[in-house]
């Protein structure tokens, strides 16, 4: 009956989702999602806008009822045991949900009281978390005066008041500048170091790669791939060979020669002029050997030769047929890039 029993009961899974479906009228926000987050790990849920990430988090935090399917968090069912479940989760949403009119301290004290901490403990916990998230100096100022990064940190602190077993981070760095984003990443890494299980949703490959140990790629309400990050990359295959001639002027002849060989991948060899290298997609070890042989035969001196696993963006492209960072709707790429920075 106790939580620990349930949590460790066999699977070691902190979050278990089976066949989760959420329909809004005709729209299928979630269309049969399965997911397992092992205790003490960071699961990245990666997908473009509208993939259903936020819907998933909202169901797992009891803000939304699923249309069908099952989900348990720390052993508690999202539909049947919402109150127990709410006790073991922390939620940091896409928009920092702190009360802007209250000071940082008052925000944390309020949450402490709502989590049934006695006054004294609620005060102590507020002080402790402000200290930990480097907000002590701003503790008495209204949150409205905080910078974007400070607000996210306060939001994280608020999520940690009840020492949650599972923390949801719904696009925690969307809209932050790179420096602030790194701040938030550092905090998340520290939390993970403390043993918190994290479910992180993100649109950024870099973020998933940085924080998550396992990854679930979602698109249009469906899981299209899942596994360890390296595992996923391997699954997609397609290593890239990066060849750097010692003499940059040999770049183009080199690329031409490789194309003539006809042994390169469907995309052919491409020249990365900025980095003075030729990139060759490689499908097999035989191809790799053939390319090296061809280069040697032409007497081209190389300064480096490396194979690279594909980036997550490429993984997404090969899994879904469209790029993760460019959703299917009408937002022009330029505008999106600005937002993403």
């Amino acid at each position: 009956m106790t939580r620990t029993d349930k949590q460790t009961g066999g699977t070691g899974s902190a979050v278990t989702v089976r066949g989760l479906v959420k329909h809004y009228g005709e729209t299928r926000a979630l269309d049969g999602v399965d997911l397992d987050v092992r205790e003490g790990t960071v699961m990245g849920v990666l997908g473009p806008n509208g993939a259903g990430k936020t819907t998933l988090v909202r169901i797992l935090s009891t803000l939304l009822a699923p249309t069908a399917g099952q989900a348990t968090v720390a052993g508690y069912d999202v539909v049947r045991q919402p109150r127990q479940l709410r006790r073991v989760i922390g939620l940091t949403g896409q928009y920092a949900s702190v009360d802007e009119k209250l000071s940082g301290w008052e925000n944390l004290y309020l949450i402490g009281r709502l989590l049934d901490l006695p006054r004294k403990q609620a005060r102590a916990r507020a002080d402790e978390l402000l200290e930990r998230f480097s907000l002590t100096e701003a503790a008495r100022r209204p949150a409205a005066t905080y910078s974007g990064g400070m607000r996210r940190r306060l939001d994280l602190a608020a999520s940690m008041i009840g020492r949650p077993a599972v923390l949801y981070l719904d696009e925690p760095t969307t809209g932050l500048d790179p420096r602030t984003r790194n701040e938030v990443w550092d905090e998340v890494e520290r939390l993970v170091g403390d043993g918190v299980t994290v479910l992180l949703t993100t649109q950024y490959m870099e973020e998933a790669e940085q924080l998550a140990s396992e990854l679930t790629v979602v698109d249009r309400g469906k899981v299209i791939a899942s596994g360890g990050i390296e595992e996923l990359k391997a699954k997609v295959g397609g290593r890239t060979l990066r060849i750097r001639p010692a003499d940059p002027s040999r770049l183009r002849p080199l690329a031409g020669a490789l194309d003539e060989l006809g042994i390169t991948g469907p995309a052919g060899a491409t020249v990365d002029a900025g980095r003075e290298a030729v990139l060759v997609p490689i499908l097999s070890d035989e191809q790799l050997t053939a390319v090296v042989g061809a280069v040697t035969a032409r007497g081209i001196t190389l300064s480096s030769l490396t194979t690279e696993l594909p980036s997550l963006d490429e993984v997404f492209l090969s899994l879904t047929g469209h790029r993760a960072s460019a959703p299917q709707d009408t937002v022009p790429v330029d505008a999106r890039e600005e937002v993403a920075v």
Binding site: L63, L91, S97, L102, I111, D116, P142
Partner: protein, 272 residues
């Protein structure tokens, strides 16, 4: 789908002990009071509304409307103060609606809803604070009223009128809560509330006796719950027939609550 949410929530709420509910509501009341401290301007309407309206109506319209009442400005003071009293409950109702809307828009409501607290706590806290605002506004109204010549003849009647306005205001609150949950932002809640309330307020016996209005409008005012409320408050505060208007007001309050409360709760529970 909504049915499962509702039942599971009800069961959940039942398991939070009363002391827990009180603690949560207390913490949230503190939050709402801190808002006022942080933003004292939010009290302006509660303070200024009764002053401005009393002075405006008494001195601008008082003379001429008073004549039709068979007196002058003094007669109108006795008429308008209970009418304005009836309006105080509506301001309370509106405040709860806009406050709720803000909480939804800032994401704070998501945080509250993901905490193991009764969802009613957020609402009760907001109502308590708006109730205090209403009482402050009412007190100011009475002070200004007395200063411009209102005779308090019946103290129990006065308190009964305050209570009745609060009861009717609580019923209207469900309307504003629904608006607060459905509308996109606090400004539209306010504008919508204004659009609904304005004709109801002026097409009633709050500001002027309906006998001087054209027939169709007089007919409307007769069925307007705000007329019943204003007339009941008038009867309670300055004497005259009370019973029928009192019952009408209570019946309207029950009716509005019976229709709007389930809608508001449903919208609140299923808000995504």
């Amino acid at each position: 789908m909504s049915a499962t949410t509702l039942t599971s929530d009800l069961r959940t709420d039942a398991r939070i002990p009363l002391r827990g509910h009180l603690r949560h509501t207390g913490a949230l009341v503190r939050r709402n009071l801190l808002w006022i401290r942080q933003d004292p301007e939010s009290m302006f309407d509660a303070v200024l509304f009764p002053i401005v309206f009393t002075l405006l109506f008494v001195y601008v319209f008082g003379g001429s409307i008073g004549q039709s009442l068979g007196g002058g400005q003094e007669a109108y003071v006795q008429y308008i103060v209970p009418g304005l009293m009836a309006m105080m409950g509506m301001n309370m109702a509106q405040g709860v609606g806009t406050g709720f809307n803000q909480d939804f828009n800032t994401g704070v409501m998501d945080r509250f809803r993901s905490l193991p607290i009764g969802r009613g706590s957020v609402l009760f806290a907001k109502i308590s604070v708006e109730m205090v605002r209403m009482l402050i506004a009412t007190a100011i109204l009475m002070v200004v009223g007395v200063l411009v010549g209102f005779d308090i003849t019946d103290w129990p009647g006065l308190f009964a009128a305050v209570g009745l306005s609060a009861v009717f205001g609580s019923a209207l609150m469900w309307v504003f809560l629904t608006l607060g949950v459905v509308m996109k932002n606090a400004q539209s809640v306010q504008a919508m509330g204004f659009l609904v309330l304005m004709p109801l307020q002026f097409g009633s016996s709050i500001f002027a006796p309906p006998q001087s209005m054209p027939g169709w409008l007089e007919g409307f005012t007769e069925y307007n719950p705000l007329s019943s409320l204003a007339d009941a408050a008038r009867g309670l505060m300055v004497g005259g027939p009370v019973a029928q208007d009192l019952w009408m007001t209570l019946a309207w309050s029950v009716g509005i609550t019976a229709v709007m409360a389930p809608i508001a709760i449903h919208k609140f529970r299923t808000k995504t």
